[in-house]
Symmetry: C2
Subunit: 338 residues, 2 copies
């Protein structure tokens, strides 16, 4: 393999000069630069990045830890990260944690071993203490996460408020028995979405029935399964707010298979605005998370950390939006009560 000394020899300069041409061209006169570039061209020289990384103790690579790349939400965020990263000259190492906390621990080793310059974790399961500990030693940014008062950069939306909006939309349509399917409750995100739901119910003077709040895990299957349970209730809900679009689709299909009409007999609101939520029948009313933008922003923040900025602001809340489609009906429902 042709190396820097080969180029130097051909161009009749030292390796130092070749190095300068590559990394600090202003420090070299036009003619010598020309000579060197010609030699590089002629020999088809490519710098050995491994040597460079070793020498500079940096890799221009970041690690993205994702629960599961097959999930549309994460795939889109990763898309945003990759887009921004490649524009800024960074490479993206992908790691599926499969929701295993051990795997998240393992990813920290990557940084300790200098294999990456920093990392972005999506929906981490690690406890706040551990995360803070890592953050004090290495550049790390979280996305779709929420920590209470811990000083780590986090990119997210306002999960409480957006869920409140979603629930209030159902309330505004006249619904009173509104169920909520949560995400896994170990995550603060799921708790916050639930909190938004509760807040909307309380502020509108509606009763919260504990048997109308069921825990899911964001998947279609869990939405389907939990909806079945709700349908078996003596007094089933007239509306469901699901904490993910996947679950919302499970809810809709369970209702359909049970002979119900959506939105006629049951109104459903989802969360995420994944691509298929608009393709689905009926198209889902949902909260749009700017997934691509969140990924992009997370990468921007990480780069700022690389540059040594201290990022006084740690919570980066991006705007969400209630997208009204057909899954909860657009017309007011005639009030069945009072």
């Amino acid at each position: 393999m042709t190396k820097m000394s080969d180029v130097a020899r051909l161009a009749n300069v030292s390796t130092a000069t070749v190095s300068r041409v590559l990394r600090n061209p202003e420090a070299v006169t036009e003619p010598t630069k020309h000579k060197v570039l010609e030699a590089i061209e002629e020999l088809n020289y490519q710098p050995n990045m491994l040597a460079r990384h070793f020498r500079r103790t940096e890799t221009n690579t970041i690690l993205v830890v994702v629960p599961n790349i097959i999930n549309t939400v994460f795939a889109e965020i990763v898309g945003g990260i990759e887009d921004e990263a490649s524009k800024k000259g960074y490479r993206v190492l992908l790691r599926n944690s499969n929701n295993q906390i051990d795997s998240e621990y393992g990813s920290i080793e990557h940084m300790k071993q200098r294999q990456v310059d920093g990392m972005i974790m999506l929906s981490p399961k690690l406890d706040e203490e551990t995360l803070l500990d890592i953050s004090n030693q290495y550049p790390i940014v979280l996305a779709t996460a929420h920590l209470d008062g811990v000083k780590i950069p986090v990119v997210s939306i306002d999960n409480i408020n957006s869920s409140k909006k979603a629930t209030e939309h159902l309330i505004s349509l006249g619904h009173k028995r509104i169920a909520h399917l949560t995400g896994p409750l170990y995550s603060l995100i799921s708790k916050n979405r639930c909190k938004g739901y509760r807040r909307a119910m309380i502020e509108n003077g509606l009763e919260i029935y504990s048997n109308l709040i069921l825990e899911g895990d964001f998947t279609y299957e869990s939405g389907y399964k939990q909806m079945k349970k709700l349908l078996d209730l003596e007094n089933p809900p007239t509306a469901v707010f699901a904490a993910s679009d996947d679950m919302a689709m499970g809810v809709v299909n369970a209702a359909k298979h049970h002979g119900l009409n959506v939105p006629g007999d049951l109104a459903v609101v989802g969360f995420d605005n994944i691509k298929f939520s608009s393709i689905f029948d009926p198209p889902l009313t949902t909260i749009a998370q700017p997934m691509f933008g969140m990924g992009k922003r997370a990468m921007e923040l990480l780069i700022r950390k690389f540059k040594g900025e201290s990022l006084s602001q740690t919570e980066h809340v991006l705007p969400d939006k209630l997208i009204i489609r057909e899954s909860c009906g657009t017309k007011q429902k005639e009030s069945t009560v009072v």
Copy 2:
């Protein structure tokens, strides 16, 4: 940062011995090994991987070039690659080409610069000559690709036969005016799926109408748009075979919005068996590609290349399967002809 020589000093051995303990433990006696491990523990030593990679000119990292990670099909294949890679101690570098051929060229630089040990390209746009040229110099495996007689390992399904099966399913239901939405025709995959369609039509004595074959780009939007065109025909088709599930959903929705019933008025078959194809209404009849398995297999082949195997067999065809759901009706359609 604590380095190998620190460990060596504390354990009263040479760095060579420390290195051996880490990478070749059998070559060291039990007591010295013990000493060394203790010192490692005590100093909380982590090997500097950059130095190791540099010294060994290998990175244990592979590059995956993907047109777009947001596409479910690619996300699942990447999932399979990542799964296998992490089991075998490899890391996965992700690169979105966004279907830009320049970006694919760029990814080759990664290998020339030794940043990765090898690469897997999904649905490459690069021409065969270039690919062959790379393959002669570096370990590379392709997936969801097809090359005519070129000696590069490729993982795929039999696109011709599976498309033939899909089309024949429609034929067996009594359809005669069967349209086909192709993928982008620069890709041999799309051409092959089209070939399978044609073959089925011809072998069953059905006429091929050129205005019933339209080119799409695998997206929902293109399926929707092209279906609109078909609906405007004087004599629209009674069935459509779309070369991707995304397009098939576009077809179904265009038909629905046009007031048609699927499968009652129009039978639709898709391709890929993405997760949402079964959630969609009606659930899509489709050809299942073993996406996760294809990713896994591609990674296995790449590892075999790393080991210096020559892989006499270059085409690795995985089994596909026709999944019959409801989008084309299960009952025989009464014959409208003869």
